[in-house]
Symmetry: C2
Subunit: 205 residues, 2 copies
């Protein structure tokens, strides 16, 4: 499948497809779909323009491949979803920080978010990937009737952490040590996973 | 002050400046700074191009004015910050939902976020506005030593709620009734304002 070319074994072909994808992500994120040309992507990737067509068929194929989240993303969430329920809140926060602290992964996540902000198709992909790789995995890992609702709530907290700490890089949040972030945010995620929803946490605490 | 022209009394001049700002926000958000021209903004706003210079001096002046958050934004947060501490968590969530459910305000907030995603200057403005209007106001309303940290934590939750519900419009989160969102998220915000930070909420609950 052409769209997965960049994720296969790392031969010369895989390396070329990866260079094309990296250049494409940058262009889609910075200039949007309309202003991205296969020719300029090929030039930035230092490959012959015919190779872009060969690997990705056309511009839409290239966009779809560029919007594939890194394997580490789905894997990290799936792994965290297998941690015993009472420690899973911390596991999800740790997985999120690990992905965003990894430069290769965070560049891809960032470019997907940027592309989504000015490309309706990219936004649609972000929504469906997020539902499939995040909400479904998190909710499937939960035992109770409110599993879907709990997954949504976890998402609100972790997305907000990623946006303020990594995408917007709001001062203190961006510079806090990971261990402090985990200590502060994990209880909330754990509460969304297993707490009595909608109760007044402070009174109970 | 030219940059505030659109926010003064609503005479013919205020209305023209507002139309220019609306067109400029749309253009900066969709096309970015480089591809926005004063001429195309004037055309979209149906005003003479000289008026854009008259009100906003130049393209950077126009961008700065376009990135001013609506008055309702700062006011809403300041009002919520005056609610008695034990109910302030709910007040902040209500204020956030009110802003985002108001079409005029949410369009401006959305365009600021989009412009920030491909304009370093806009991102810098988003950061400083966020620090001044959100983090400082929230932390100033808190009595204890950890006021700044608590404001940061509140921000991670409310930004994540706004992104998933309004900007990305992730399925269930986007369609939940406001009252349910408030019931589910307010306890977390209240916990960040007044709870014992970093404790295991679930065990305490």
């Amino acid at each position: 499948m052409a769209a997965r070319a960049g994720r296969g074994p790392r031969g010369e072909r895989g390396a070329q497809a990866d260079r094309i994808l990296t250049a494409a992500r940058k262009s889609f994120a910075e200039r949007g779909y309309d202003r991205t040309s296969l020719r300029s992507v090929a030039q930035a990737a230092d490959v012959d323009p015919t190779l872009v067509n060969y690997y990705f068929s056309n511009k839409m194929g290239l966009l779809k491949a560029a919007l594939e989240p890194p394997d580490a993303f789905g894997e990290g969430i799936a792994e965290a979803a297998e941690v015993p329920l009472e420690e899973r809140g911390r596991a999800f926060v740790e997985a999120a920080l690990r992905m965003w602290d990894d430069q290769a992964t965070s560049e891809i996540l960032r470019s997907i978010i940027l592309a989504a902000s000015h490309e309706p198709f990219a936004m649609e992909r972000l929504r469906s990937v997020f539902s499939a790789l995040v909400l479904q995995v998190v909710s499937a890992s939960l035992p109770d009737d409110e599993a879907q609702l709990r997954a949504d709530l976890v998402a609100t907290q972790i997305v907000g952490l990623a946006m303020t700490r990594y995408v917007w890089a709001i001062d203190r949040i961006a510079h806090m040590p990971s261990e402090q972030v985990i200590r502060l945010i994990a209880p909330t995620v754990q509460y969304y996973l297993t707490g009595p929803l909608g109760d007044d946490i402070s009174e109970n605490a």
